[in-house]
Amino acid sequence: MKKKHSIAILKKYLIFREDARKISAIIQNENKKERNKTFYLDFSKTNFFSRSFIDEFLNMIDDLRKKKSIIKTINLKPQLEKFLKRVEKRKQNIKKETTF
């Protein structure tokens, strides 16, 4: 059974790829202690995502999914959720266009 694990993201602006990599490192560290978890990332304090951050963040979710961890976002501001979905859709379209 998967266990819930909540992580509060404290940064107001998430801009660089390294911001996503830092989140990934925290999750991977938690994963070492106990695998097969669902992680809830709480973005209530975050006001801004850059496209680069989202790109790296989505890559991170994909990588962690392969390691049997599920990442879910909570308390995302509406504009951030909209942007996240926009970039995610664009990534999926590119994947379709470039996969034989």
């Binding site: 107001k12 602006y13 801009i15 660089f16 790829r17 006001n47 801004f48 850059s50 496209r51 680069s52 790109d55 890559n59 504009q79 909209k82 942007f83 926009r86 970039v87 664009r90 990534k91 590119i94 994947k95 470039t98």
Partner: protein, 176 residues
Amino acid sequence: MIKYEKKINFQNIDQELINIFKKIESSKFPKGFLDFINYSVSELFVNIKEHSKAEIVWIKIDINMKNCFIEISDNGIGLRKSYLLKKIYPKDDFVAIEFALSGLSTKDSQERGFGLYSIKKLVSVLKGEMIVESGLAKIIIKDNQTISQKIPKGFQGVKTILKTSIKAFDFYKAVE
């Protein structure tokens, strides 16, 4: 509304970007326009941080009631050398700028390389003007036309200038 001009050491660009965001957020803009400014400035800073190998970054923002002017430049390796380091071979500085504006990434994975390409699209929706200089090349995009000019003395690094009028628009529909 906003006048901001600064020379920044590369190692301070993270903190400086946050200072810029705070300054921009304190002003009121029509729907979508704040997203455009934040998106453009952040993508240009990300490009500098990830690719430029610069030591110094210059930023100038001049926004009044009607118009927006953003100029961000660095003294790094420039677009062509950035591509060459990734084994992509633009024949000259003009082609290197065209690669960047078309979304060709210097990185390996999908989606990356959208920085200048998506800013170009947004500026086009706003019917503005975008200028990119790197090495001996200068490309001006305005009214869906592209003008190429040679810079006689050349420009080390990359300079990007955005000029638009301030208006409401659906940022999330326009951004690709």
